[in-house]
């Protein structure tokens, strides 16, 4: 049997946050929340794990830094040492101040781009990819909670409906869960 999913729609982020807190305290598992902008404090409530994007960014930064050092060591010191402003490039350590800006630039370039591209890939939101939000209005002024029945086996569908209706929803809908992509 296909998985069923309940979509509960709210018209305010704080109302949704309060509703989510109430439902979670009653043991309901909220699979996801769709919102036009980040809702502060929703992640720990619905049990979203802390993002590892920062670690990715740090690793990309290290990669960029290493590439910069390897690059200017080979190009400017080993392969073709140049005498710039009376400072011949014969040693990495003694000329390092001259290379600090490029090291910094490479680190920032790799960290920023690496993080952004990883984010887009991981979320499957590269330009041109199909959107997977159930309601287009969640990109405008509506906030939707997704509650899958398979995640809440201890409640029946009608029990869940009753619980959700106790929060200040403006719409509720149950349908078959379809993976859009």
């Amino acid at each position: 049997m296909a998985d069923r999913v309940i979509y509960a729609m709210y018209d305010d982020d704080m109302v949704l946050l309060d509703g989510a807190k109430k439902l979670v305290s009653e043991g309901v598992h909220i699979t996801d929340v769709f919102s036009p902008f980040p809702i502060h404090g929703i992640d720990p409530v619905i049990g979203v794990k802390h993002t590892r994007l920062g670690i990715v960014s740090f690793m990309f930064g290290l990669l960029g830094m290493t590439l910069a050092v390897v690059g200017f060591k080979y190009m400017m010191i080993d392969n073709w040492p140049m005498n710039i402003g009376g400072k011949p490039n014969f040693s990495l350590l003694e000329n390092f101040p001259a290379f600090v800006p490029i090291t910094f630039e490479f680190t920032v370039l790799f960290a920023a781009h690496g993080m952004a591209i990883t984010y887009l890939l991981r979320n499957k939101t590269l330009p041109g990819m199909p959107a997977d939000n159930p309601y287009p209005r969640t990109t405008d002024d509506r906030f939707v909670m997704e509650i899958r029945l398979s995640d809440n086996t201890k409640f029946s569908a009608s029990e869940l409906h009753a619980k959700i209706k106790e929060t200040e929803i403006i719409e509720i809908e149950e349908k078959d869960y379809v993976v859009i992509k």
């Binding site: 404090g41 740090f58 009376g86 400072k87 101040p97 001259a98 600090v100 800006p101």
Partner: protein, 408 residues
Amino acid sequence: MEFQISTKAKKTIFGVIGVGLLAFIIGIVQNSGTDQFGTRLMSNFLIDGFFFFAIALGALFFLALQYATETGWSVAVKRVVEGVASYVLVGIGILVAVFLVLTFTDGGFFGAETTHGHHTGHIYQWMDPDIVAHDPIIAGKAPFLTKPFFWVVTIIYFATYFLFYKGFRKRSLAEDLEGGTKIHFKNFSKAALFLVLFGYFSSTSSWHWIMSIDAHWFSTLYGWYVFGGMWCTAMTTILLVVLYLKKKGHLQQVNDSHIHDIGKWIFATSFLWSYLFFSQFMLYWYADIPEEVIYYVQRITEYKYLFWGMFMINFIIPMLILMSADAKRNAGILMFVCVAIIIGHWADVYMLVTPGSMGEYGTIGFMEIGLFLTFAGVFTYFVLNTLTKAPLMPKNHPYLDESKHHHI
């Protein structure tokens, strides 16, 4: 009112002051026979006088910044910022005394001769008419580097800082009683004015008070560099006081997010300082013009480990340790970084003053450590004492509610 300095804290503070004074006196006895004694004594008072005054001034700047940007989250720690800023009153007194002594001794001339070329045991050699008469470079910097000009602008700086601190404090306490938004908007406009004045004064005062020690040398970035260090130590001190008060059970409304945000400020201002340090260093290193690079040649040849060591402490420790979000919420880790930064930035101010005034004779001994501890004790006592005089949580600030629910 609600916060009182505990007997234990008083004992610790007076203990630190006592140990500091004892070490200082040991240092005086040890060194009183040396030629550089007078200069070293005055250098020490200038270093510690300026370092702790700069912390308070940084806090005053931060307070004005919060008013001018109408920031909400920081309202819960506003009284702590005011408390740290209140030391400007003492700091002004100490610096005025130091400047008076230096003025009446022709820039701190105590008869010592160092082997270091043009340095003859002065702190402000441009205050000595005998030197200026034979030194066209310094003579060319008149009227900027003359005693009357120095005093006129110094009094303007101090009066401005004093009046603005008093005004902010008065309105902050009045807001607790009156409420409304009138005081809030007055703070807004006064803070904007203060930031403009501070923007000029922080640069020009650092030229007069510190950069003129190396009277031949100049750097256009100097004011920002000193300001970067000032801001960083101010944020660090504010965080230390907040952590202490939290540990004692005060500031219940200050949550992890506030501490996280102050931690971010420390992280950011450490980068600001490091960036300015390197910007100044790299241009001089690259151009290698004798009259410019002498400043670094002297520091690197005579104070190699201290010079690079303090840069590493002030840059690497906050960068690596405070990078993760969890570290900025962990009191133990923050405490370690804060203490390291305070020591590192004290060493930075030491590096600003000593090579210029003491030449190759500068060392860190009983005198330096003793006077630092004495000043630290006085500073802490004065700041905590100000905190006892008003409720730690402001009332009636328009953004108080936002700050109480601060969540990131």
